[in-house]
C-alpha cells in the first residue's frame, strides 16, 4: 500500500491575484515508513498535507493538476461524500497545536469514540473499550480518567497524545503528522517522537512527517524530501541526505544548524528569504539566494533527476555518478 502524490500543482486565487503554492509536488509514502517533508515556513508543507486530507477551502484553493493516489485510487476524483469515508479511516492527521484541534466542549472519550462509531460501526460500549486500548497505546495509561476529561484538563504533552489517539483510533494506513512536536519542550518532544516511531513499528503505518527542524527529521525519518517554494528540490534516504546532500539549498540548510562543534566560527547563512508564492522567481526558484547560480538557473527550471541511485535533486549543477 502506498500514498503517492504526483505532480500536484495548486494555487490560491483571490480577487485578481494568484499565489502558486504548490508547483508540481512528487513523493510517495510506503507502508511502515516515515517520509519527512522538510522546509521553511511558506514553502508549502502544510498546503501539501491539507490538500491530501482535502481540508482546503475551495475557492480560494484551486488544484491545477496532479493526482493524490491512495491505495491505487486517485482521491482527487472522489466526491466529497466518498472522501469522507476514507478521511480518518484510511488516512488521518495530527497537527502542531493540539489545543486548537481538540474540541474544547467535548470530553476526550467522546472525541475518540465518535469516529469509531462512524467509521467502524461500533456500538458505544465497544467503542469505549477500544478507546481505552488506544489510550494505552499512546501512553495515556489510566485511560478512564482521560476519557472523562475535557481538553483543558490535560497538559500539552497529554493533549498531543490524545490527538494521536483520535487519529489512530480507526487504525488508518497512513498518518500525516504536521509539526507535531514544534509546540512542545525538548523532553516531551522526544517522548512524542518515540511514540510516533512505535506507531510505525507496531501498526506498520506509513507516516508523512512534516517539520522545519532538520534535527528532528534526522532522528525520525526513513526518507526525506526537501521542499522549497512549492517544489521538492531533493529527495532521498535519511543517511544519504545528511552525508551527501546534492542540492545547494539542502547543503546550506545543513550548514546553518548551530551546534557545539561550530563554536567560534560563524554559521553559514542563506541570504534573503523564502520567495512569496505570488512572486516565484523565474528558472530555478532558489537562484536569487544560491551561491552557485549561473545564467542557466535564471532562465531554465532544473528537472528532478536521479543522480545517485535513489537520490534525486533538482539543480543544474548537482553531480553524482550519473546515469
Amino acid at each position: 500500500m502506498e500514498l503517492i502524490v504526483k505532480n500536484l500543482d495548486l494555487s490560491f486565487v483571490s480577487g485578481g491575484s494568484e499565489a502558486h503554492a504548490l508547483r508540481g509536488i512528487d513523493f510517495s509514502v510506503k507502508e511502515g515508513e516515515i517520509h519527512s517533508l522538510v522546509g521553511e515556513s511558506g514553502s508549502g508543507k502544510t498546503v501539501t498535507s491539507t490538500a491530501i486530507m482535502r481540508l482546503l477551502l475551495s475557492p480560494p484553493a484551486r488544484i491545477n493538476s496532479g493526482e493524490i493516489i491512495l491505495d491505487g485510487i486517485n482521491t482527487l476524483k472522489m466526491q466529497e461524500k466518498e472522501h469522507r469515508k476514507i478521511r480518518g479511516k484510511k488516512i488521518a492527521m495530527i497537527f502542531q497545536e493540539p489545543s486548537k484541534y481538540l474540541n474544547p466542549t467535548l470530553k476526550i472519550g467522546k472525541q475518540i469514540t465518535e469516529s469509531l462509531i462512524l467509521h467502524l460501526g461500533m456500538d458505544k460500549k465497544e467503542a469505549v473499550l477500544r478507546a481505552l486500548a488506544i489510550l494505552e497505546t499512546v501512553g495515556l495509561g489510566g485511560g478512564k480518567r482521560v476519557l472523562n476529561s475535557y481538553p483543558h484538563e490535560l497538559s500539552g504533552g497529554m493533549k498531543q497524545r490524545a490527538m494521536i489517539a483520535i487519529a489512530i483510533s480507526c487504525n488508518p494506513d497512513f498518518l500525516i503528522a504536521d509539526e507535531p512536536t514544534t509546540a512542545l519542550d525538548v523532553t516531551l518532544q522526544l517522548q512524542i517522537l518515540e511514540l510516533i516511531l512505535s506507531l510505525k513499528e507496531k501498526l506498520s503505518m506509513g507516516i508523512l512527517f512534516i517539520s522545519h527542524d532538520l534535527r528532528v527529521v534526522h532522528d525520525i525519518s526513513d526518507r526525506i524530501s526537501v521542499i522549497y517554494a512549492g517544489k521538492i528540490v531533493e529527495g532521498t534516504s535519511k543517511n544519504e541526505l545528511f552525508s551527501n546532500p546534492l542540492h545547494p539549498y539542502t547543503q546550506l540548510l545543513l550548514k546553518s544548524i548551530p551546534d557545539a562543534e561550530k563554536r567560534g566560527t560563524r554559521l553559514t547563512t542563506i541570504p534573503g528569504k523564502v520567495p512569496d508564492a505570488e512572486n516565484i522567481p523565474t528558472g530555478c526558484a532558489f537562484h536569487p539566494r544560491c551561491p552557485k547560480a549561473q545564467d542557466i538557473c535564471r532562465e531554465k527550471e532544473p528537472e528532478m533527476k536521479e543522480y545517485i541511485k535513489g537520490h534525486f535533486s533538482a539543480c543544474h549543477f548537482s553531480q553524482g555518478e550519473g546515469f
Binding site: 525538548v186 523532553t187 522545519h212 534535527r215 546550506l252 551546534d259
Partner: protein
Amino acid sequence: MDQILKLINVTKIFSGHGIVSSKHNIFKAVNNVSFNIEKDTIFGLVGESGCGKTTLARSILLLDPPTYGEIVFLEKDLTKLSGKQLLPFRMKMQIVFQDPHSALNPKLTIYKSMKEGLSNRNYPKDKIKSRIEELLDVVGITPSHMYRFPHEFSGGQKQRIVIARALSMEPELLILDEPVSSLDVSIQAQIINLLLDLKEKFRLTYLFISHDLNLVAYLSDRIGVMYKGRIVEIGDTDNIIDNPGHPYTLKLFSSAPGKMEIGIHNNEEKDDPLPIPPDGFVFSNDNGEANTFKLIQVEDGHLVGCYKKIGN
C-alpha cells in the same frame, strides 16, 4: 576579568489565592539563583518552559523585582536603588524578546519606535535621524525604510529592528530571551551571526536564554542549566557538554534532537567519567529537603546541584 553582572541568591516568589479557594499559595518561580557573568562573554541559560528563565530575566531588569536577593550590575546592587537612580543602569541593560511582532508598536513607524528611546535619554535632537540610520545600517536594514510600519517587514527583519532599538541605548549587557525561536532556520543563522558581529563590534555581553541546547552550546562561553526555578548545573560550555553531572542536564542532552551532529552521548570513549557527588549527597531531579540543596564544585568553575541524602 570584570564581572558585569552578579546575582546573589535571587529569589522571586509569586503568591496569592485562587478565585474560589482561600488557601494561600506560594510559588518560588526563581529559587536562590546565584551566578556571575563576565564582561565580553556569552552566558547561556537553558531550561524548559516554566523553569523560570524568563522570570529571572525580568527580575534582573527589575521589571519584576526579585522578592529577595541582590542583583549587582556594574558594581551596584540594583535592588537598593530608587526608580530614578535606576535609569542609567536600565539603559546599560537591554532585552530582546522572543516575539518581534509584539515587541514593536504596530501603529508607529520604525523611525518613531526608535526615536522614543533616544529622545527619552536626551539624545541631541538634530542627530537622532542620523543615529537611527546608522543603527539600522548596522543590523542590516536599509535605512531609507525607517518610515515604514512593522507589518511591512518580515519576522527576521523585525527582530533586526528590535535589536537596533536595544542598541540605541548603548547597552553593555543584552538579555536575549529566545531571540530566534520564532524564526525560520535560514533566518535564525542570519540573526545569530548578526548577534556575534555586534558583540565584537560593541564589546557587548550577552545573557542568552533558550531552550535549544545545540544553539546555546554553539554560542555560549558558560552555561547555566535551570530546572524548577533553580540553577542545577553551571560551568564552562566544554565542561557541561563533555562532563555533565546533573541528571536533568543529561536528560536535556539526550532529548535534544539530532544527536548525530553533536555526538555528545553517543560518544563511548569519553576520557572523563561522570562527576561523582561527595559523600552523603546525591545529584537528583527530585526536590529533596529544600534546605539541603547546594551546588558542589566538581571541577574548576563547574558546579552541580545536589541534595543531602536522607537517612542512609
